[in-house]
Amino acid sequence: MPDDSSLKAVEVVELTKVFKDFWGRPRVRAVDGLSFDIRAGEVFGLLGPNGSGKTTTIRMLLGLLFPTKGVVRILGAPPRSVSAKKRIGYMPEESHFYPYLNAEEILDFYCRLFHLSKSERQHRISHLLGMVGLSGARHRPIREYSKGMARRIGIAQALVNDPDMILLDEPTTGLDPIGTREVKDLIRQLKNRGKTVLLCSHLLADVEDVCDRIAILYGGKLRAQGAVSVLLAQKEQTQIVTDKLPKPVIEKVLELIRNESGHQRIEVGEPTQRLEAFFLDVVERARTEMVPTSGAEVSRMDIQFFDRREGAMGDALVEHLVEAAKVVPQPVKPEAVSAPNAPESDEAMLKEMSEAALKAPVARKPAEPKPLMPVRQDVLNELLQNPRQEPRKEDDAAKKDTKDD
């Protein structure tokens, strides 16, 4: 049985970082006594406004900065140990790549640092470029890339080693909504494969969509920490979502609620689609109509090629994905990160993860807005059968408050 520490992908204890000036005088206390853990297999969000110490914390986790005080362990090792680095993927906030190399050469360089064989390098580079939609631009120097394209290369390089832990610093910055959605899908896929993800962002919607737990920083200190569902739950309110109802029925429902609960604050309105979902729907239609574009191609943010070997490529891959899409989604229990130097257990775990991941659904179209809580059909029926009060006049000031996911 793994001990408790092996379940922690990241341990941060009393982490402090003070930047000093040339004369050694303290200049900025960027991080101040920060402590948190990230469990293996979860998606952890590090939130905070600009200048709250998120990036400094990530850089200390990676060994690019040294803590003034405190302890950092990542995958059970100090940040600068090679054993930890072998299992880490990192996508920085800004995409800085060697401008004289092209996409293929950049990935080849990083693959070489992981001691990958030539055939393995070619295999991974080809698939990663396809995954991020840059197959057609693979021979163009990076300096000619747009910011979004460079971000895509950033994603690809972070995955060259099929890492156990991925640190993403503002991963959706510079990406169009499609790219943003794809990155979020990718994060979900990584989670399904048992990977640990640290997502650092100030885009709350992104974090809310994908994170299991979050920590909120302000002024270098931890202000809140916990599971997203727990932190965001509003236990004092109830939301009901149903198909379109005729006006008399709505009046009856409102009357019933007033009578039964005595609450006077009841808001009724038509739920709106999220802009992201609407935008993706428009683009999807344009793609269907084959409208030409010179930007990044349609990418396929699936990382399952890491699990395949030579025989399962090409058409087999498509079949594989189609079959996977038919399978009813199963919740995947996060697995502990295996200890280093245990290749047999790694292989077994990888196989298990692969099977689980293949059963997971592949996101093909924008998700429909979903209620926070499931609709209780029995309550609705009861409400509809007891229309006792006059319908409430609609208040102009409270037209709608639809909550989706």
């Binding site: 680095k85 800085h96 390089q157």
Partner: protein, 582 residues
């Protein structure tokens, strides 16, 4: 796929494979060295025999020579093992360095500059017009140009690469990958060395072809063909002129296109006279106040040596040279190279004199060289049949000052460098090749220096530091010479002592000496172009031995380069690569 796209793909492929291409290009060079050593050993080990049996080598010299070779070989083996064990990260970093270098247009510009300038050298440089001066000037400037250009490339490639990596945060992604920082730096160094080495041997090859063309006159011929005119030296020749010209061309072979071991004569025996004088001065109190006895002995030795190497009018001065290789082959010669200094005239002039070489056996006539036109204040040579070297490797020779007594014209020879014997032991190519190896050691040190500066400092500061070091390196030899000389000249000190003139206070001498020693230490630690300078040796046909190469490897590569590299490793590993960003 269109043709244009195919061509572009091919160019991309070749560009990306440049590091491997450079490795292939450098591979033959790695074979030339061992091949030359084997050839040297096979030909009676003359080079090695001569280099260790000059009769002047002390035990310390032997230890240094053999120790240098052992250190060079062991160090090479250690470096090879380390590189092999860490080959993947080091090679990944090295090949990225090469790709980065070829993307910089400045490298291409420097190569083009060399390619354009070098062939023009024999015709744009002012020479005496003789073949030997043409060859020597061409060889000197081509090698110097290559060394200076490649030194700039070596130092600035690493510097620019490191500072840009850090400045543009490219290293943030690379450092997170499983590569240790020392491996990353070592890879950069390997990459810079790969580029500069290939360029060095390409430039060396071009220089070799060029000086051969100048030597055999084909360069002049091509100038005539291309420009449709005659060169200055290509006049219509009479028979006598042709003979002179042939002799001049032979001189090129004998004095440049060769590698000759340098042997200096025994120093005059002046120890007894110095001790007597010292005792006398001690008794009479004529040793300057505050000067210790050792310093006084050193000064007197210098004075007596110089006195012993002067030749007054109608006087004769003899030298004994040991450690030469006797030969009965009439085609073998040894060369006497000397410089006469005439103190009464600063400008160059000619003086009458006669050289006489003692016969090795009785009954054999002395070898005599008479010339009324020995130039003063410049080096010149004459050759003596190697059969005049005695069986025990000794050559005795004497110089007669043929000026009349009334002239009062005392001629001087520097006691240490005024006369040397040069004995051919090998051809030009091995010597030239070894010179390039020594230059490569200089480049290795500069590459390490550039990478260290770039890994610790910002680009402007690092550039300033490196340029300062580079300029000091260029004049370091001259500066060291200046610091070695006494603050107050010897003759003045002794004169003042004799006249009982009060000396300066002791503390000022001490302060000056301490400052001098400190500066000397710094200068010795910094790169020094004149240190192991192989160019002047190659140009004068002097042997650049394998011992010299080993010594250069040990000092420049391992000692100085090693210190710089270890410092770079330690400091860069402890450096935070990110800056404040909250």
């Amino acid at each position: 796929m269109t043709l244009r796209r195919k061509i572009q793909r091919t160019i991309d492929f070749v560009r990306y494979r440049t590091p491997e291409l450079l490795l292939l290009m450098i591979a033959p060079v790695l074979l030339i060295g061992p091949a030359l050593i084997v050839k040297g050993l096979a030909s009676g080990a003359s080079v090695f025999w001569m280099a260790t049996r000059t009769g002047q080598l002390t035990l310390q010299d032997y230890v240094l020579n053999l120790g240098g070779v052992a250190a060079a070989l062991i160090g090479m083996a250690v470096i090879a093992v380390i590189c092999y064990i860490n080959r993947q990260p080091i090679w990944a970093s090295a090949r990225k360095m090469v790709l980065e270098a070829i993307s910089r247009r400045v490298i291409v510009g420097l190569i083009l500059f060399f390619v354009v300038i070098t062939p023009m050298m024999p015709f744009i440089l002012e020479t005496e017009g003789s073949p030997i001066s043409q060859v020597q000037i061409t060889l000197t400037y081509s090698m110097m140009l290559a060394q200076v250009l490649l030194s700039l490339v070596a130092v600035f490639l690493g510097l620019a690469s490191m500072t840009e990596e850090i400045e543009y945060k490219e290293i943030h992604i690379t450092d997170v990958k499983p590569v240790l920082r020392w491996q990353f730096i070592a890879g950069k160094w390997v990459g810079v060395m790969l580029i500069t080495s290939v360029l060095l041997y390409m430039m060396g090859g071009a220089t070799y072809v060029l000086v051969n063309a100048v030597r055999d006159g084909s360069a002049e011929h091509w100038v005539k063909v291309i420009f449709g005119r005659k060169s200055v030296a290509n006049e219509d020749l009479t028979e006598t002129d042709a003979a002179i010209r042939k002799e001049l061309r032979e001189q090129v072979f004998e004095q440049v296109f060769t590698s000759r071991l340098s042997v200096f004569p025994d120093l005059p025996k002046i120890e007894a006279a110095v001790e007597r004088d010292l005792e006398e001065r001690h008794k009479t109190g004529k040793i300057p106040e505050g000067m210790d006895i050792e310093k006084a002995r050193e000064m007197l030795t210098d004075i007596y040596l110089r006195r012993a190497c002067t030749v007054g009018p109608e006087e004769v001065r003899g030298w004994t040279v040991r450690g030469l290789r006797p030969s009965s082959n009439p085609d073998d010669f040894v060369f006497v190279r000397f410089e006469i200094t005439a103190p009464t005239a600063k400008a160059e002039r000619t003086v009458p004199g006669r050289w006489l070489v003692n016969p090795p056996v009785e009954g054999m006539g002395a070898f005599e060289v008479v010339s009324p036109v020995w130039r003063t204040n410049s080096y010149q040579e004459f050759k003596v049949p190697a059969s005049y070297v005695r069986g025990d490797g000794v050559l005795q020779l004497a110089f007669f000052n043929l000026q009349p007594k009334e002239s009062m014209d005392v001629l001087k020879f520097d006691p240490k460098t005024g006369l040397e014997i040069l004995q051919p032991v090998e051809g030009f190519f091995p010597n030239f090749f070894r010179s390039l190896l020594v230059i490569q050691c200089h480049l290795a040190l500069l590459a390490a220096l550039g990478i260290m500066a770039g890994s610790l400092l910002s680009f402007p500061v690092a550039t300033l530091v490196v340029v300062a070091v580079f300029l000091i390196g260029l004049v370091s030899g001259w500066l060291q010479q200046g610091f070695q000389e006494d603050v107050v000249p010897t003759w003045q000190l002794l004169y003042e002592a004799e006249q009982n003139i009060a000396m300066k206070p002791l503390w000022s001498d001490l302060a000056a000496n301490t400052a001098k020693k400190l500066l000397m230490l710094i200068l010795k630690g910094l790169p020094n172009v004149s240190e192991f300078n192989p160019i002047s040796s190659t140009v004068n046909g002097r042997l650049v031995s394998w011992f010299t190469v080993a010594h250069a490897v040990a000092v420049l590569l391992y000692l100085k380069g090693g210190i710089v590299t270890i410092l770079a490793f330690l400091l860069f590993t402890r450096r935070e690569l990110a800056r404040i960003q909250v």
